[in-house]
């Protein structure tokens, strides 16, 4: 009993002595957090709440907002000819572009994870398109894919294709053209770097064990590499889908939503409503609808991930 009391006394003394230090640690912790917190509250939460209110108003920046209840939300579902088509185009873009991009990055990372000569040079080479500004990239791709004078169609014609695609100028090919441009720029970029990091985190002994068991390269890829990469795949999928659904710049620069609305994506529609047509209230409603969709989709993916994502040692 005496020993026990003595032990409690020691703990109390230690707590007393550590308290000032802990207090200062907390103070510095919050102090260093302050810039982020100020930004979070002032530039994210504040505008977010404001935009939620504005989504219930008719507001054009130049006049005070007029409260109209849920009219903006009703309008988007019933009286906006570009609402549903723009969602369809966005899903098409993200639905095709993101899986291709994630798979492409993964297999490129697997290739570049091999011990081959001049490996840094290859990694640099594949990373370089990411460094090209998107506007420059658009100019380059529009030149490459020009319907009549472009290098690609000249090559296709010389190979005997009489009527090659019109690419950016053809409604059927405009989105595939943007996807191709996005893949060129994105496959070897940060996503590939993340996959490389994931690959290098796979314990070597698992491959050794598989080799001892006589596993082929394909079996190692299928049974070791891919399962242990699933957290990285999941992470890249989440970011890719969010980025894909938000696609804007390439369409804005390359096609301005055309031809004939072919690349009029949801984000472009939102931008047009806000900054070209000055329907800020309606644009805020579109933004909130979009935010809910993205958050829901992300949560749904998180739930699904328990079925296929494998955390080694976790």
């Amino acid at each position: 009993m005496a020993a026990l009391t003595s032990r409690f006394d020691v703990a109390a003394v230690m707590r007393r002595e550590l308290a000032p230090r802990k207090r200062w640690q907390n103070f510095y912790g919050y102090l260093f957090l302050t810039p982020w917190l100020v930004g979070f509250l002032g530039l994210f939460i504040g505008p977010g709440i404001t935009s939620l209110y504005l989504s219930l108003t008719k507001y054009d920046v130049l006049s005070p907002p007029i409260f109209i209840g849920f009219d903006n939300y009703v309008k988007m579902f019933t009286d906006d000819p570009q609402f549903w088509p723009s969602i369809g185009r966005t899903i098409y873009y993200a639905g095709v572009g993101v899986p291709l991009g994630v798979l492409g990055s993964m297999f490129l990372a697997i290739l570049l994870n091999n011990k081959i000569r001049a490996l840094p040079a290859y990694r640099t080479l594949f990373f370089m398109p990411t460094l090209v500004p998107i506007v420059a990239s658009v100019v380059l791709w529009k030149w490459l894919l020009n319907d009549d004078f472009g290098v690609v169609n000249q090559a296709l014609r010389s190979l005997g294709m009489a009527d090659p695609p019109g690419w950016f100028g053809d409604r059927r090919w405009a989105i595939p053209s943007l996807i191709a441009m996005g893949l060129w720029q994105g496959i070897g970029g940060t996503r590939m770097i993340i996959f490389l990091a994931g690959l290098q985190g796979i314990p070597e002994e698992l491959y050794d064990a598989a080799s001892i068991d006589g596993a082929s390269s394909w079996a190692k890829l299928w049974n070791v590499t891919i399962p242990l990469l699933t957290p990285t795949i999941f992470f890249n999928m989440i970011l890719g889908i969010i980025g894909g659904l938000q696609t804007f710049t390439a369409a804005f620069v390359a096609t301005e939503g055309g031809p004939g609305f072919a690349t009029w994506f949801f984000s472009l529609h939102l931008y047009k409503q806000a900054f070209d047509y000055w329907n800020m209230g309606y644009a805020a409603a579109l933004a909130w609808f979009f935010a809910v969709i993205i958050v829901s989709l992300t949560m749904w993916q998180m739930r699904l991930s328990t079925r296929w994502v494998f955390y080694y040692g976790g």
């Binding site: 907390n26 302050t34 020009n146 009549d148 014609r157 100028g169 055309g258 609305f261 000055w278």
Partner: protein
């Protein structure tokens, strides 16, 4: 007693800091340019600026570097001691990009006293409806300004509901000409029409679109699907896109408008000799390279084409600048869409009389000449500037007729200009799509309905 800072207390503190920061970011108060009015014979407070200390802020889309803004400010300030003009360039990538900043500045109470809400960008009418810019009729009358110094058609664009809201220092005739590569005509053995004659029929132009077309190598004719292009297309056949009031789309009910679009539809969709949307990334460059014979553009483009040929030292056998004007209409007018710029005074400007003098300084003869010369344009809106511009480049003489006898632009009455231009562009794309063709009547009706839907919207 807790020895930690509570999260709640910390968040409360953060909110206070955030609020303080946001308050610090609030728009600065408008400059105290006006002296406090003295009453009862009392002198104005010592802190108030003297009568001659007037500060005017000039929000200009003309970026620094050309020297035009600076020269205009310096000469005005020299002639008006005590007046300071603050040069505030709007740094948008295009003039259209600047309006968002100007509207935001207005909402924040920080819009300059001198600004430009351009009729050719459809922001002029919105700025009037929203009480952003002020009528200047009284200032004109007090100054006895002779408004005939400017071309009538450009001045007509400065009015709204009978009131005058601005003075122009630049403008152009829209898509009033075919920018022509004369080298192709010579190579084909076709006599190039006189640059000032309007004796080439639309039928002949259609034939040339075929004649000069070589698949994969060259287009004979390019027609823009943008609003400015489609309007002049309909006017070239005697029709129009919307009525003068800006309330009705005049496509399907006007046989001439229908004829115009059917002519273009045949070339684009049935004959497939026109470039599809986006098929020519840079029309100017394509023409310099000899990949396009006739570009339906504006007279300004002819000047630029000539300049680019010289800059590229292009072989005269590949590119030679010329123009073919659109045929005269039965009523004697020339197919065009005069689009004028403007300089305006912000509502409630305290020194509107001084601001007006500055408006005249930048839209007057010298201001207008230098505006055009520094930018290499021919956007003449005053007859007294023409000779100076022609002296600078004789090709400018080609552009005069449309300025004198053209047709002014019509704008949507509800100030929905951007919705209008987007609707025209996108639904014309659909009508003229050679890859997924729609029946002409269906595409035309679709175009008509969607333009009318914009014109029927609530006022912006």
């Amino acid at each position: 007693m807790t020895n930690q800072i509570s999260r709640r207390a910390f968040l409360r503190g953060s909110l206070l800091v955030t609020g303080g920061l946001l308050a610090a970011c609030a728009a600065p108060a408008a400059p105290a340019s006006a002296p406090a009015a003295s009453s009862g014979g009392e002198a104005a407070p010592a802190a108030a600026p003297a009568m001659e200390d007037i500060l005017l802020r000039w929000d200009t889309f003309r970026s620094p570097g050309t020297g035009w803004n600076e020269e205009r400010i310096d000469t005005f300030m020299q002639a008006n001691p005590g007046v300071t003009i603050e040069f505030r360039p709007l740094a948008g990538s295009s003039q259209q990009d600047n309006y968002a900043k100007m509207y935001a500045a207005h909402a924040a109470g920080d819009l300059g006293e001198i600004c430009a809400f351009d009729p050719s960008h459809f922001h002029f009418w919105r700025a009037i409806n929203k009480n952003i810019i002020m009528p200047i009729d009284d200032l004109v009358a007090a100054d006895a300004t002779d408004l005939s110094e400017w071309y009538d058609l450009f001045m007509s664009l400065q009015y709204f509901q009978g009131k005058l809201y601005g003075l122009p220092s630049w403008g152009w005739a829209g898509f009033d000409t075919l920018v022509t590569n004369a080298a192709h005509f010579k190579a084909e053995g076709i006599e190039v029409p006189d640059v000032n004659a309007r004796d080439v029929s639309m039928e002949t132009i259609g034939e040339w679109a075929h004649r000069f077309y070589t698949e994969g190598e060259r287009f004979g004719l390019n027609i823009s699907h943008g609003e400015a292009g489609v309007v002049t297309l309909t006017r070239a056949f005697g029709g129009d896109l919307i009525n003068e009031d800006g309330t009705q789309c005049t496509l399907v009910d006007n046989p001439q408008s229908v004829e115009a679009l059917r002519w273009a539809y045949k070339l684009a969709v049935e004959d497939k000799v026109l470039p599809a949307t986006g098929a020519i990334e840079n029309v100017g460059a394509a023409q310099v390279e000899g990949k396009l014979t006739l570009n339906w553009g504006g007279s300004l483009n002819v000047r630029n084409y000539d300049r680019d040929i010289k800059a590229a030292s292009a072989d005269p056998a590949v590119a030679e600048a010329w123009q073919i004007l659109l045929p005269t209409l039965p009523d004697g007018r020339f197919p065009s869409q005069l689009r004028g710029g403007t300089w305006n005074i912000r509502q409630a400007s305290e020194h509107a009389d001084v601001a007006y003098q500055f408006l005249k300084h930048i839209a007057g003869k010298e201001g207008s000449i230098s505006f055009n010369l520094v930018s290499g344009n021919f956007a003449a809106v005053r007859p007294d500037t023409v000779q100076a511009l022609i002296a600078e480049n004789p090709i400018h003489e080609w552009f005069l007729s449309s300025l004198e006898n053209g047709i002014a632009a019509h704008a949507p009455a509800n100030s929905r200009g951007r919705e209008y231009t987007d609707a025209v562009q996108q639904y014309t794309d659909l009508l003229m799509d050679p890859n997924q063709p729609v029946a002409f009547e269906e595409g035309l009706q679709n175009l008509q309905d969607n333009i009318q839907a914009v014109l029927d919207m609530d006022p912006a």
